[in-house]
């Protein structure tokens, strides 16, 4: 069987080397590009992100990223956001008192973790995944590698509308509960770095690739 074709979105975000290699190791045919045709055609699109929310959003916008990501989502085509690539899917990010708009795929704000814990939240933490997620299948009890100082700390999505499949939200805790991952139809995202989370992270990427 041919390997699923995955594009890692190239918009100048930090170290994407590891994401590319890890996805290859997990069984994908990976291309690092910003070419719009490739972004649209790929079986899966990965949106990495390192640094400040506003800077990542600016860099994405500079290549018209939100439009192409949005178009994929509208077409039911899988997208995986990682770290700040997860955060920018929410409505807004507030860092150092500066608010920036995100893509608004989900309600909620990215805000500073509580100041009574060690920050950045850096290291291997546990998650609480709901039943039946694709990403955490078989690795629900593993730890994943987080590096961040900001997070979405509430889930305001109206999950009571029966005609809509409720997104599956996975939580973690550091000073406060925060969203570690979301699965919502074609759109998935993780606050942690699966590409740096050893065997557990590799399995998560494989789970995603196998779903493409």
């Amino acid at each position: 069987m041919a390997k699923p074709d995955v594009v890692v979105l190239d918009y100048g975000s930090g170290n994407v080397h590891s994401a590319v290699r890890a996805l290859e190791r997990a069984g994908a045919q990976v291309t690092l590009t910003r070419e719009t045709v490739r972004i649209q055609e790929a079986a899966g699109l990965v949106v990495p992100g390192v640094g400040a929310f506003a800077a990542v959003m600016d860099a994405l916008t500079a290549i018209d990223g939100p439009r192409w990501i949005g178009r994929r989502i509208a077409g039911g085509r899988p997208v995986l956001g990682i770290c700040v690539g997860h955060q920018i899917l929410f409505e807004r990010g507030v860092e150092h008192g500066i608010a920036a708009d995100g893509m608004g795929e989900w309600p909620g704000e990215v805000t500073a973790l509580p100041d009574d814990v060690v920050v950045p939240h850096m290291g291997w933490n546990t998650v609480r995944a709901p039943e039946g997620t694709v990403l955490f299948d078989g690795i629900e009890d593993e730890r994943f590698y987080f590096v961040h100082s900001y997070a979405v700390q509430s889930w305001d999505f109206d999950q009571t509308v029966e005609s809509m499949a409720a997104p599956k939200v996975t939580w973690s805790h550091h000073g406060a509960d925060f969203i570690a991952a979301v699965e919502n139809g074609p759109l998935s995202a993780t606050q942690f770095h699966p590409e740096k989370s050893g065997d557990a992270g590799m399995q998560l990427l494989k789970n995603w690739i196998d779903s493409l």
Binding site: H17, V50, M122, G123, K196, S197
Partner: protein
């Protein structure tokens, strides 16, 4: 459940080879950093640190290549230190595949470089590494002094003030190495760890003095979020990382 204490082996790399010696059995080539990185990853290391002890710039290129090859094969966080002076050095390391860079002497000489690096790449990429020793110098209030040149040269800078300043400037993590404890295998300098913990809220990695797994819980009780060691892992039995983690777990701290 909470964040696990990280156990981090440190490898000294010179011209693309691990130096200081490593005593693993069944290793084809004990000097190959990539092979050792694999070994430590398989043994349960939570992160890896390469310390580039290379002097020449051509050898530095070799280090970048080692970083790239490691990052292609080992999927845990990789920190690289040694010779990091400017934001361009950090850019090169990140491009090579490092997740974090550690800075030491260059930050002592010119603290502003911390702001420059973290403004560009974010706090999470920069580890402040410092070698501190105890001193009787009345000018140094805390009794802990920052040194350079592997502890041979004093700077007259108070290590605790320095940690406070570096945190305020934006470093994402502090690697605290005790020169007095380093090499003694008699245990960590827990007073120093405690003193640094009081002035910073960024993650703190304790280094220097570990000789036995039982030494580690004290460093964590004193406020360390992670522990780093070299010889103990290089010369200990293959399962030393597991033994260290077991000692940490037995003391009531979470490990992976």
């Amino acid at each position: 459940m909470s964040l696990a204490v990280r156990v981090i082996p440190c490898l000294d790399v010179d011209a693309g080879r691990v130096v200081k010696g490593v005593n693993f059995e069944n290793l084809r080539d004990a000097g190959d950093p990539v092979e050792l990185a694999h070994r430590y990853n398989d043994a349960g290391a939570d992160e890896l640190t390469f310390l580039d002890v290379t002097a020449s710039s051509s050898d530095r290129e070799t280090t970048y290549d080692v970083v790239t090859r490691t990052a292609e094969e080992v999927f845990i966080p990789l920190t690289v230190g040694g010779g990091v002076r400017t934001q361009e050095d950090v850019a090169t390391l990140l491009r090579s595949g490092a997740d974090k860079a550690s800075i030491n002497t260059a930050a002592v000489n010119r603290p502003e470089v911390i702001d420059e690096i973290t403004d560009r790449f974010g706090s999470q990429v920069l580890v402040l590494s410092l070698d501190a020793r105890r001193t009787d110098d009345p000018q140094i209030a805390s009794g802990f002094e920052v040194t350079t040149h592997g502890g041979r040269r004093g700077t007259g800078i108070d290590a605790i003030s320095w940690c406070r300043e570096a945190s305020a400037r934006g470093v994402g993590e502090i690697l605290l190495n005790s020169i007095d404890a380093d090499g003694t295998q008699a245990g960590f300098d827990v007073e120093m760890i405690r003193a640094v913990r009081q002035v910073t809220s960024v993650p703190l990695i304790a280094s220097g003095g570990a000789g036995r797994p039982e030494h580690f819980p004290a460093a964590i009780d004193a406020g360390a979020d992670a522990v780093l060691a070299a010889s103990m892992f290089h010369f200990g039995p293959v399962d030393m990382i597991a033994r260290v983690k077991e000692a940490i777990r037995a003391a009531g701290h979470p490990v992976r």
